[in-house]
Symmetry: C2
Subunit: 516 residues, 2 copies
């Protein structure tokens, strides 16, 4: 067997049995090794941004890493934006990046580049195999790193490490350390701060603290102390919907974010970093908490967040569940123009039980997040690093990890164009994804930001950099071109009817919601 065989066996022996891939010549031995192992599910993306987004969506739902297969520096580069998002989500992932044979690098062949320099910014862990015998140990270390941290492990696989012979060996699963327990002193400090601030305390919940069980615990703390529960502006995965403890999502817009946190005297961080302004603006602060209000780090993303919250609740004597309001389900069919409100209403009203929402809706249907509290229990996944173009791939990956569940992808049009190739993967894998394109035919978020810098009258250059009309995109044609059925709608009642139809059928479907 060769190094590539060893790599495959190490992945499979550790429960990594999905590989999102876009291979090239330097990975042919790895492809041949994968081909000898039909138990590995290989999923092709027609662009690497789809590959890495899919691995992100997959691991968020499966709670274990997928592998990716990327081709040299440029192939990795194409996947970096969505690795950036996955890094911010602390998604476990094992990237295999093929490179030239080590001895060939000195010749600076056309595809040679400094892969290490490219990979480092978007990787929590990085290693280059030094030879065939290093592949096994390096792969094991990558898996441990991806699962422990958790985060992005990138393994560079030179072609001669892949093709070189290695001795056959049994693969024993690596020991992955359990999530780190949070020291008592940190729990005590958080408890003391919450006790002192009472309703002016906040808990910022990230990562595994946004699952239903941890939220229930956090809800008890809120009930006992009046502390407010927040989530970051961008959410890796939230178990939400009727009956689940709700959180307040910190808004993206700086003024709203400042207002949201204005009454907070101390913010306890549970698996999330201190919230900061998404961008800097002249004369506005970078920190979002009021002056003098500290952020108190209690636990990191790799810590045992559920246990830490339970310990915190115990220390606060918080035994009574939060009374979660159970508003009536949404009713009625919106009519007329296809507004944010109409879209949000229909989406939240029709959302199926146990749906997986992938939200890259950006400026459109922001109110849907609030309305989802009235929808059946579901999972909510969001763009996490601000690098647009996560949606179509992440939806594919999430669907692959969630058989029997419907994936609803809320997709801004400008962002969707970044990685529209993901629709093809949805079609090929026959994934149960309903994509809703919010077709406002603009980079609406930028138009708002231009107004934030004081420009209200757009000239030709600004207009041409922010409008996606002239020509308008025909998303149904684009979807059809990749084997995905679709329909375009221009009224609220039309949208409602088509969404209802799409959710009732199987396989990928795209709705272009042409906004008023």
């Amino acid at each position: 067997m060769n190094g590539a065989d060893r790599l495959c066996d190490t992945l499979l022996g550790n429960g990594i049995d999905v590989c999102f891939a876009n291979p090239g010549t330097s990975e042919m031995h790895f492809v041949a090794a994968l081909d000898r192992r039909p138990q590995m599910r290989c999923v092709l993306g027609l662009f690497e941004g789809v590959v890495t987004a899919a691995a992100d969506g997959y691991a968020r739902m499966a709670d274990r890493p997928a592998a990716t297969l990327l081709h040299t520096g440029p192939g990795l580069a194409n996947g970096l934006a969505n690795l950036h998002n996955a890094r911010r989500a602390r998604t476990p992932m094992v990237n295999v990046v093929g490179d030239h044979a080590a001895y060939h690098l000195a010749y600076d062949a056309p595809l040679t580049s400094d892969i290490d320099s490219l990979a480092r910014p978007m990787s929590h862990w990085l290693r280059r195999c030094t030879g065939p015998d290093d592949v096994g140990p390096a792969a094991e270390a990558a898996i441990v790193a991806a699962r422990t941290h958790p985060g992005i492990a990138t393994l560079i696989l030179p072609a001669d490490s892949a093709w070189g012979e290695v001795a056959a060996a049994d693969i024993a699963p690596v020991a992955v350390p359990a999530p780190r327990p949070v020291p008592d002193a940190r729990i005590a400090a958080a408890a003391e701060a919450i006790r002192r601030a009472g309703p002016r305390a906040g808990l910022l919940l990230g990562n595994m603290a946004l699952r239903a069980g941890a939220l229930e615990t956090a809800g008890r703390i809120a009930a006992a102390t009046g502390a407010k529960l927040f989530s970051p502006v961008q959410i890796s995965r939230l178990e939400a919907g009727r009956g689940r403890v709700p959180v307040t999502k910190i808004p993206y817009a700086i003024d709203l974010a400042l207002k949201c946190l204005a009454e907070v005297d101390v913010l306890v961080l549970v698996g999330a970093p201190e919230p900061v302004a998404f961008f800097a603006y002249p004369g506005k602060p970078s920190r979002l908490l009021p002056d003098g209000a500290p952020a108190l780090p209690m636990a990191e993303p790799g810590d045992a967040l559920g246990d830490a919250l339970a310990a915190l609740a115990d220390r606060l004597g918080a035994r009574t569940p939060l009374q979660v309001p159970t508003p009536a389900p949404l009713e009625g069919v919106p009519e007329g123009d296809l507004t944010d409100a109409a879209l949000s209403h229909s989406i939240a009203m029709l959302l199926p039980e146990r749906a997986v929402v992938v939200d890259e809706g950006l400026t459109t249907a922001r109110s849907v997040f609030e309305l989802f509290k009235r929808a059946p229990p579901h999972d909510y996944l969001m763009l996490t690093g601000g690098a647009i173009g996560m949606g179509p791939g992440a939806a594919a990956g999430a669907a692959l990890a969630s058989p029997g569940r419907k994936v609803v992808a809320l997709q801004a049009d400008g962002s969707g164009m970044y990685t529209l190739q993901g629709l093809w993967t949805q079609a090929r894998e026959k994934l149960d994804v309903v994509t809703i394109i919010f077709s406002n035919r603009s980079y609406a978020i930028l138009q708002r930001e231009m107004r934030n810098v004081g420009v209200n009258q757009f000239g030709e250059n600004a207009r041409r950099m922010m409008q996606l009309d002239d020509p308008a995109l025909d998303w149904v044609a684009l979807a059809n071109g990749m084997g995905v059925e679709g329909a375009a709608v221009e009224t609220a009642e039309g949208f409602h009817a088509v969404l209802d139809y799409a959710l009732g059928r199987e396989g990928p479907f795209l709705i272009e919601a042409v906004m008023a």
Copy 2:
């Protein structure tokens, strides 16, 4: 005025009046400054890979740099693969990459990343503005670097450098040094080597040595000495066609490349690096020249290549032009299956006078390069770094730089899917591009490479990573979805007729050639 205004004025004052852009929030002040200067032509790409490819195609034809506008680390990352190609082509380019305000970086906001680490591998020159007053000098240095080297200059523009006030100032164009003269000793050494080796000498011509004038000079050397004229496997820009001195392109496939150079005793390098194997293969060499046959560097890409060739010709007493064969123009309409040969014949036969060919055809229609010697004079641009996905954007950029000339884009289907968004830019800018999609519905190049590593029977995993069928892409629908008209053809005569039609009309058009 602010730093962004100064940047725009510096670009415009140095003849950079096209900016390929995909902006984000951190670039809003730059966008506002561009908006105040309608003399800057801003061209939106719906993905950064389109933006950088367009800047590459533009500069190859305009012989001067365009600017690009990219949004933070992920936006740059999306453009890196085509920066890699441009770097290999030694294309002059000034990239402006927006970043957070300097003081905001410490807060590690969601979009923060190590832009310097990402940019360095694909940039010949890199600098981060240290404040508003640094923007002018940094921009001038970037322009000098892009034009002198020539190559990729990347300027990181923090938002507070863009929005901070600067004093108004007149912009004087920077002094760009003339191409470096090649020392006499190098000319003499090359002349001596050619004299000694005679017909077993080769000249490898790159960069500006592939323009018609330089080729004419090289042709005189060939005529006088019997030396062979070669081009690299990937060509930045070649002036080719009837009456022009032809070159032998070194093949991509390792065995063919070795055979091509087997009779060469010495290879004189004129603006190109020594040719090496595109990839490493077990048991095959990295060098392509025969053992003991040296490569003799005479001139670098930034040198005065035409002058150097003229001096070399003088020293060799080479005054007589090469007798360039003038074969009859191609004739006749191919019939039947849509084979490589049929496609090549029709394309070369119908190629308009002064056309610009952008070739990312990869495995299909390789014979067209030979047949182009019988086509009217034209420019030939090729994928230069092996990072697929250059075509649609590069064709747009080349068209923008070449008004009144027809651009013919030869596009493999797998590669085309990487950056299909470039079709939208072609539609918006009403560019005169005819795209021919070679629809073989596979990564055919990888299927060949798998056979090279000894795998002839593909299992399910290999098949699913290399076949693009199931579902088949409908390229006409994809083009229509982005506002580009198109037609699909399945016969040689059908292709010939549609190509003839497409070349006779104005504006972008796409032909899906469904291969036999």
